[in-house]
């Protein structure tokens, strides 16, 4: 109470200051209305023939989306397109982003971008440099999906029109999300990419996207990088093997050959662990240990399910998974000599002394090492029916 | 530049009014003006685009001179 007078004065002063201040400010920095931005749903980067960066954006027209989804269509008049695709060239990514302003009406807002599609040409030249922009800009969403386009330019992919979702980018992201139940594409978020790029002893691997029809895309397979440059692809099954080894399979369907047919096994859970065994202070083998838990999903062949058969089935499932892993290992070791599994990281963590010397030519060492893959499969449930439909027997 | 001057003018005006009303001793004025003059001078220089070498740099130089840092 003693200082009431003084306190009161500061109070007035403060209020006056706070009220007058906004008036003094000539403009409101960073204040951008939602009306004044273009909401980007997807992005693509590619290298042109001339060696420049070609940035493609897929921009959403919210009003059009709203009217298509809520079905409020006023009838008669043609529906406005929910998205438009626009491209712009530039020496750098950022320049291209800014250059875009001369083609479109409002500022681009990149934070909502769901996918980033990297062109094949650019990937072959190396993606390290262009990623820096996406890492540095404060408006980029780190959980954005990154894909490498195979056989089509990013623009072609972004221009796909699909009936499944008004926004193609969301559709593409959806197909990638489905990877959880397929296990045939590597789901790569931007943050994973940034992390992997910096981490030692691991090469990049990014999911692959290709165009299969006029308005259809397919996300399957993996692009393998070496030192930031695209060196090749893994097919769907190799990708799955790779994901099994790196513990990224949540669910998958593995077909096991059976008597005159196939049995589809649904992988419910899978645990993968990679390791490098050392002998006499030198790496001796690459070990991959995988444990899968599966259910019998479909029995499309002859025979019946009994405990003995189940054990056999477990073995052949393990064999199947092992085959896939070996395929992936083989390709990355022998064909690409690129350690996408991250065996090197493992060495770095547990044998830092050895790693110091070996880091430089780890690729060579990696491609030489023998692989030791152990898969342990377990069948948990067999579904609602006990045995398959009896056929002509 | 003009904005800097205006802001300082308002600040000093407010405080001085208070000080004079309360009949503060001279040392309050002295210390107050010491700080304000230093601030004003530096901010005018900064506003003019000429950054004088900062205390942080002096300290760094001093430490290097003594030999604490390389």
């Amino acid at each position: 109470m003693m200082h009431r007078k003084g306190k009161k004065r500061t109070g007035i002063k403060l209020t006056a200051f706070l009220l007058v201040l906004p008036l003094l400010l000539t403009g409101c920095w960073n204040n951008r209305d939602l009306n004044e931005i273009n909401i980007v749903a997807g992005m693509g980067v590619e290298r042109t023939e001339g060696g420049k960066i070609l940035l493609t954006v897929q921009v959403v027209e919210p009003a059009a989306i709203q009217s298509t989804s809520s079905g409020k269509g006023k009838g008669g008049s043609s529906q406005p397109k929910p998205v438009f695709v626009e491209s712009c060239e530039g020496e750098t990514v950022f320049e291209a982003v800014r250059g875009m302003l001369s083609v479109i009406d409002k500022k681009l807002f990149l934070s909502t971008a769901q996918i980033l599609i990297i062109g094949e040409n650019l990937s072959r030249d190396g993606i390290g440099e262009i990623l820096d922009f996406f890492q540095r800009d404060h408006e980029i969403d780190y959980s954005m999906e990154v894909l490498v386009a195979n056989g089509a330019t990013p623009r072609e992919i972004l221009e796909v029109e699909t009936d499944m979702d008004a926004i193609p980018a969301v559709y593409i992201k959806g197909t990638v999300e489905n990877t959880i139940s397929r296990g045939t594409v590597k789901k790569t978020m931007l943050i994973d990419l940034i992390k992997d790029m910096g981490s030692r002893g691991r090469q990049l691997a990014i999911g692959q996207i290709s165009k299969t029809g006029e308005n259809e895309i397919r996300t399957e397979g993996t692009a393998v990088f070496k030192n930031g440059k695209l060196v090749g692809w893994l097919g769907p099954y190799e990708t799955r093997g790779y994901l099994f080894a790196t513990n990224k399979v949540k669910s998958a369907i593995v077909n096991v050959p059976a008597d005159k047919g196939k049995i589809a096994m649904e992988i419910m859970r899978s645990k993968g662990k990679i390791n490098v065994t050392f002998k006499n202070g030198k790496p001796a083998a690459l070990t991959v240990k995988v444990k899968v838990y599966a259910n019998v999903g479909g029995y499309e062949g002859r025979g019946k399910l009994d405990p003995d058969h189940l054990i056999k089935l477990e073995q052949s499932l393990a064999e199947e998974v092992k085959k896939e892993i070996l395929m992936a290992l083989e390709k990355s070791q022998k064909q690409y000599s690129s350690d996408i599994f991250g065996f090197g990281t493992n060495v770095h963590k547990y044998h830092p002394m050895y790693w110091k010397n070996a880091e430089k030519n780890w690729d060579v060492i990696f491609s030489m090492l023998p692989a030791d893959v152990r898969v342990d499969a377990r069948i948990m449930r067999t579904g609602i029916s006990k045995s398959p439909v009896k056929k002509d027997e | 530049m003009a904005i800097v001057l205006a802001v300082f003018a308002v600040l000093i005006f407010y405080d001085l009014k208070e000080f004079i009303r309360k009949k503060e001793p001279a040392r309050v004025f002295v210390i107050y003006f010491l700080f304000m003059a230093a601030s004003l001078a530096v901010s005018l220089l900064l506003a003019a685009g000429r950054r004088p070498s900062s205390p942080a740099q002096w300290i760094e130089a001093l430490l290097k001179m003594i030999g604490v840092m390389q």
Binding site: L25, N30, Y142, I191, G198, P352 | I31, I59, L63
Partner: protein, 362 residues
């Protein structure tokens, strides 16, 4: 003069807020990369000890603030000179934290806003807080500081799904020296900075609590920083962690499906706000004691203005700021945080030994 009293819990929370300060944003001891947790533990332990030194000084000179102690133990002239140096140090510290705050806000949220505007408004609000008195500051701390660990906890829990628990391996890859260096950095920032609290300790209403309060706050903040570190390294990996400008902010961006970036702003606003307020209060209080001005409130405005200018003046850009904070700050702080306090402790102990009266009273 010492009429205003704060309770033990208020001091605890003020200290906690001060220690969190910009620490929660900058992620100290990141120089040691993978081994930062070791550096944090080492630095934390040393920091706890160092803060106990300050407590000992305060307990040996009951109800005396830093300036009085300096003048009493070192003589009037030398004491005053050192006190003036301390005032400079507090002002400098406040301006550094202001700059951290400004850089963070302008990098992360408002890239088009001039930094000086953000800093000036913030400083103005803090002057209002400081002028309300230490009691109000204490009460404010009670309301606001608990938010910081809460937010940290929320963020940590929500990104625990993105994980790689072996990320902190290998241990001691580059030997001990970067760890020791980072630990030293961690002692000087933030623990040593609590030297400013020597101006506040006399306000505590129950002296016997001082020791525990200070100890607890130092330990708590060390634990929280360790949690923050492990969270960041698990989520980001050591490489990205050491490359990012504001590590905890980056990891908060990774919360799946939700972006709670503004919460981090709040952390810095509270922690940094308390740190700056305490520094400005300490500087103004010390200055008013030296010059014999009855009320420190008359000086806060001028000091805060100077802090704002100094914060802009100090560094050309954010990189300069970071490099300076990492390389120069520890050495610069050494005399203020460690040398002079130890000397004061020694002098206080000697004086206490000499006068048996004081000895028996304790």
């Amino acid at each position: 003069m010492e009429k205003e009293k704060i309770s033990g819990i208020q001091l605890f929370l003020l200290l906690l807020g001060f220690l969190f300060g910009s620490t929660v944003i900058l992620g100290p001891a990141m120089g040691a990369k993978n081994d930062a947790w070791l550096a944090i533990i080492l630095g934390g332990a040393t920091g706890v000890l160092l803060m106990q030194v300050y407590v000992a000084i305060s307990l040996l000179n009951p109800s005396k603030a830093l300036v009085d102690i300096l003048r009493e133990k070192m003589g009037k002239v030398a004491g005053n000179i050192i006190a003036i140096l301390y005032i400079w140090y507090f002002i400098h510290l406040a301006s550094l934290v202001l700059r951290d705050f400004g850089e963070f806000i302008c990098t992360v949220t408002f890239p088009e806003t001039p930094m000086v505007v953000v800093i000036a408004i913030f400083a103005f609000i803090l002057v209002y807080a400081v002028n309300s008195g230490i009691e109000v500051l204490g009460r404010l701390g009670e309301l606001l500081v608990p938010i910081i660990p809460l937010v940290t906890l929320i963020i940590s829990l929500s990104i625990i799904t993105v994980r790689d628990f072996t990320a902190f391996l290998p241990v001691l890859e580059n030997g001990m020296s970067p760890v020791l260096k980072a630990a030293f950095n961690f002692v000087t920032f933030p623990f040593g900075e609590t030297i400013a609290f020597l101006m506040l300790f006399p306000h505590l209403n129950k002296k016997d609590k001082l020791k525990n309060v200070v100890f607890l706050s130092a330990v708590t903040s060390t634990i929280v920083v360790i949690i923050v570190f492990f969270r960041d390294i698990i989520v980001l990996g050591s490489d990205l962690m050491s490359r990012s400008t504001f590590t905890p902010h980056l990891s908060s961006l990774l919360i799946p499906g939700l972006n709670i970036e503004p919460l981090i702003d709040i952390n810095l606003l509270i922690g940094g706000g308390i740190k700056i307020s305490v520094c400005i209060y300490a500087a103004a209080r010390a200055l008013s004691q030296i010059t014999g001005i009855d009320d420190y409130r008359k000086l806060t405005g001028a000091i805060a203005t100077f802090c704002v200018v100094l914060s802009i003046w100090g560094f050309g850009n954010v990189l300069e700021l970071f490099i300076w904070s990492e390389k120069v700050w520890p050495y610069y702080s050494f005399p203020f945080q460690i040398a002079i306090p130890l000397l004061l402790l020694l002098l206080s102990l000697i004086k206490k030994g000499k006068s048996p009266n004081a000895g028996t009273k304790k």
